[in-house]
Amino acid sequence: MQFMLLFSRQGKLRLQKWYVAHPDKLKKKITRELITTILARRPKMSSFLEWKDLKIVYKRYASLYFCCAIEQRDNELLTLEIIHRYVELLDKYFGSVCELDIIFNFEKAYFILDELLLGGEIQETSKKNVLKAIAAQDLLQEVSYGDTSIEL
């Protein structure tokens, strides 16, 4: 996987994860282009589009679009499963997740993604293990505050 984007129906970016190095300008251009293209697609269309030499796989969950760019040899149906797995994890973690959870806790959304994927490849196929790792790290964070209880 080359990158993953989360954006709202209004075209607002909610999360971006790049596994390839591009200049900021190009990243913004790609993001803008993909958001416009995907938002313009009708619901009865397939979840795939060919874009430059990449395959774009996207799926909408409520008001959020999850969009992944994969290489030609990658399995686009499996990418849909990865997206779905990520949504399930968010849902479990936040308890019926909504867009606002991801806006206000965007760092958590990144942490969860980083326990699911590493370098653009899937690293853990057990939901339980991912959530366990996240919970343990959250606990570690609280301990590190000591009694000073600094929150973000």
């Binding site: 009865k44 499996l78 206000f104 939901k127 339980k128 590190s144 505050y145």
Partner: protein, 852 residues
């Protein structure tokens, strides 16, 4: 003690620094902004504040400030000033700081910035941490932003962690190794020993990352690929355990056991089995098992089947297995899920050239997909359909494809119609069917038809002499109804009716069912509609006008109405149509006797394709259209002129040759070019006027005439040919001295003079304009004027561009019946290196021999 000290320090700091705004408060503020300007104001204020805290080295609130900055960064604002602060957070002993610091590093840094190298040391420390999550954060960051330098520096650390007893660290280290190999393939060696043992794991995380790493290694080097051939049985065993083992809640996805791992293993098997009979043999059974045992009611099952099909098609699998794979794709095509239909069509498109017959069996399903609501599925299905057309199924396939063509969106029509034409050309069972198909394309695709379809159809009609009566009748039927949205159809129809109108009106009935009776008046009224409709393009009207002219010789009862229509075009606003109107109307008056010969039916066109190499006429068409590409109407006109009424034009120019030859008294030399009709020399001047607009009587400069010439002859070649012929065929010449008529600014104009013995009152002047500058002279225009007692005729120049040290020529003929001294005023204009030069001169130095 240290802990107490830290608590005291922090307490002191908190007193010194007031707590900054919380992240969620900032987000709320930003979201409350009603305009973009308001949002910018909030963010600018906060950024300024964050910068100031960075300057003051506020370590207590650094993580909060970076978190806010990361949110601001996501909104598209610059945040690079946080890069170094992220490094400071990473170096902090607190886990919160590290977590946010590494997140910031992944978002704000990448290998393109040198700053990222500063992180290497922090990473090295954390990779050696005793807390597994700190090691995990470091590995995750390395996997996301590792550059070649970092990869080299940290490869050995990663290799050590791949052997860690902790599975959480092992799986992350394996994917880091994957990233490092991608960046620096030479580093593969050091990971090889640790990689193999990853496959002996029970932990799925370690297994899947291990398989991913091996896949990357195998794709990178052939040696490694061969090295890993021996793990095929291990992979087969893991896969078998996955499908046979009972329900395991941890890895189950809708009843399928760990689809992620299954897909990765299938893909690695594909790479290992490619071009290797032995390895393929070892995996045949398991592939068959996966293909038959996978639950297909959900996307997960189909994901695995899809990967299995790809593997079966890629390795040296048994033929039965291949049929099974294609059948799976056939089933996919019937699936309700559009995504699955899409991948099926995509995969079939990849395999259709390997195993056409197996794909053929799903032809009807593929044709069904042409009706899919999803445009990308329709596009794939269309491509696939054309890949499946052959001589056996052409009739049924074309029926469906024509139906599709009729109903489809405009974006498909051009491509689809051209593809149908190509397929019909390759596989048409007979001429009649081929013609019918082309006709249906013209009807169904309307104005979206590309020009190549028009020329293909006309060419096919022209060569299928037996079918002309039939097709002209069909086209007449089509033309009778409204065809404004089908210009190409109208063009083909008018061309054919013009050529074969006699078959339509007086030929034996061609159609089996209800033969039609067409009268000349019917035809005229349809043509009137075509020619006066504002919806028809100029090109279509040109076709129609020429067709009508041709019809004047096909009609039996009279052509007064045709004459009237054509005369009316003599004053048409569009110059091309007007020229045609004027020229054609002359064919009803002075040149009435030439009309039947000029408008004869064209001989069958032989070429199969417009770009055939060995056909000069076709080549000219190609070239003309290329040369004039983008010049709009005029370019099209030449092409169409050539295609549509080639013969009449060829005859025209032949006639012109005769005329010129006749005037020169060398009629015999050029007579072999001519058609039977030999015009008398009194006609010459008038026909010249008619055809070229050459000015014989007026002594004024004749730039218009020159332009008309070039339109008439359309390429310089033909006019060169004309001039050459004219000059070379002169048998005897009383050579006269050359004179220099003009010499200025590096442009020299020399007149070579000749008197024709047969016609002593005419002097032929060959003007040579020589470029003695170092620049190319372009847009060269030479004009000449003589006193009223003379008559001047100018032929078209050999070019309008003179390269340095090159020259161009133009022939002038002066008739001097009174033998008065020759005088001439000349005007030149040209463009030399961007500057336009215009000059006039008087030529008085003609030698007396040239006029006496």
């Amino acid at each position: 003690m240290a802990a107490i000290k830290q608590v005291i320090n922090e307490a002191v700091e908190r007193v010194r620094m007031p707590a900054p705004m919380r992240l969620r408060d900032l987000i709320r503020q930003i979201r409350a902004a009603r305009t973009a300007a308001e949002e910018r104001a909030v963010i600018n204020k906060e950024c300024a504040y964050i910068r100031s805290t960075f300057r003051e080295e506020d370590s207590l609130w650094r993580c909060r400030n970076i978190a806010k900055l990361l949110y601001i960064h996501m909104l598209g604002y610059p945040a690079h000033f946080g890069q170094l602060e992220c490094l400071k957070l990473i170096a902090s002993p607190r886990f919160t700081d590290k977590r946010i610091g590494y997140l910031g590093a992944m978002l704000l840094l990448d290998e393109r910035q040198d700053v990222h190298l500063l992180i290497t040391n922090c990473l090295k420390n954390d990779l050696n941490s005793s807390t597994q999550f700190v090691v995990g954060l470091a590995l995750c960051t390395l996997g996301a932003i590792a550059s070649p330098e970092m990869s080299r520096d940290l490869a050995s650390e990663v290799e050590r962690l791949m052997k860690s007893p902790n599975a959480y660290i092992r799986k992350k280290a394996a994917l880091c190794a994957f990233r490092i190999i991608r960046k620096v393939p030479e580093l593969m060696e050091i990971f090889l020993p640790a990689t193999r043992s990853l496959l002996t794991e029970k932990n799925h995380g370690v297994l899947i990352t291990g398989v991913t790493l091996i896949t990357e290694m195998c794709e990178n080097s052939l040696d490694t690929l061969n090295h890993f051939k021996k793990i095929v049985p291990n992979l087969v065993r893991i896969l078998k355990n996955l499908i046979l083992a009972g329900y395991s809640p941890e890895h189950d996805v809708s009843g399928v056991s760990d689809p992620f791992l299954q897909v990765k293993i299938l893909r690695l098997l594909r790479i290992l089995g490619k071009n290797d009979a032995e390895a393929s043999e070892a995996m045949n059974d398991i592939l068959a098992q996966v293909a038959t045992n996978t639950e297909t009611s959900k996307n997960v099952g189909n994901t695995i089947l899809y990967e299995t099909v790809l593997s079966i098609m890629d390795i040296k699998s048994e033929s039965g297995l291949r049929v099974l794979a294609i059948n799976i794709l056939g089933r996919f095509l019937l699936n309700n899920d559009k995504n699955i239909r899409y991948v099926a069509l995509n995969t079939l498109l990849m395999t259709v050239f390997i195993d056409t017959s197996a794909v053929q069996r799903h032809r009807s399903t593929i044709l069904e997909c042409l009706k899919d609501p999803d445009v990308s599925i329709r596009r794939r299905a269309l491509e696939l359909s054309f890949a499946l057309v052959n001589s056996n199924n052409i009739r049924t396939m074309m029926k469906e494809l024509l139906l599709f063509l009729e109903k489809t969106d405009p974006e498909f029509k051009a491509q689809c119609s051209s593809n149908i034409v190509l397929a019909a050309e390759r596989f048409a069972p007979n001429k009649r069917w081929h013609l019918d198909t082309l006709l249906k394309v013209l009807v169904a695709a309307g104005n979206y038809v590309r020009d190549d379809v028009v020329s293909c159809t006309i060419q096919l009609v022209s060569e299928s002499t037996a079918q002309q009566g039939y097709i002209v009748e069909q086209l007449w039927r089509a033309l009778e109804s409204d065809t404004m949205d089908r210009q190409p159809l109208t063009q083909v129809a008018t061309w054919c009716i013009g050529e074969y109108g006699d078959l339509l009106l007086y030929g034996p009935p061609a159609g089996e069912d209800n033969p039609i009776r067409v009268t000349e008046d019917d035809v005229i009224s349809v043509y009137q509609r075509l020619l006066w409709s504002t919806q028809n393009t100029i090109i279509t009207k040109q076709y129609a006008l020429l067709s009508l002219t041709k019809l004047s010789t096909r009609f039996q009862t009279g052509n007064d109405k045709i004459r009237q229509i054509i005369d009316a075009f003599g004053s048409h606003l569009h110059i091309e149509l007007q020229q045609r109107g004027v020229e054609f109307s002359q064919l009803f008056r002075k040149y009435e006797h030439m009309r039947p010969a000029l408008l004869e039916r064209m001989p069958p066109m032989e070429t199969a394709r417009p770009n055939a190499v060995n056909n000069p006429a076709a080549m000219t068409n190609g070239e003309t259209s290329e040369d004039l590409d983008g010049t709009g109407d005029e370019g099209n006109l030449h092409v169409d002129g050539r295609k549509g009424f080639g013969e009449s034009e060829i005859q025209d120019s032949n006639a012109l040759l005769v005329l010129l030859g006749g005037a020169d008294g060398t009629e015999n030399d050029v007579a072999h070019h001519t058609e039977p009709s030999k015009p008398t020399s009194t006609d010459n001047q008038n026909l010249l006027v008619l055809l070229g607009g050459l000015d014989l009587s007026s002594p004024a400069p004749a730039p218009v005439g020159v332009q008309n010439n070039s339109i008439l002859f359309s390429t310089n070649q033909s006019s060169n040919f004309l001039v050459d012929d004219l000059l070379n065929s002169e048998p005897v010449r009383n050579n006269l001295p050359s004179i220099t008529a003009y010499e200025k600014n590096g442009l020299r104009i020399v007149f070579s003079l000749e008197r024709l013995p047969e016609n002593p009152s005419t002097t032929v002047i060959t003007m040579s304009a020589m470029n003695e500058t170092l620049n190319t002279i372009s847009e060269f225009l030479f004009q000449a004027a003589v006193p009223k007692t003379f008559q001047l005729q100018m032929l078209s120049p050999s070019s309008t561009v003179i390269a340095p040290a090159d020259q161009l020529t133009q022939v002038l003929r002066i008739t001097n019946p009174n033998k008065t001294p020759l005088r001439m005023r000349i005007r030149v204009s040209y463009n030399a290196g961007g500057t336009v030069v215009q000059d006039q001169a008087e030529v008085n130095n003609f030698p007396p021999e040239s006029w006496q």
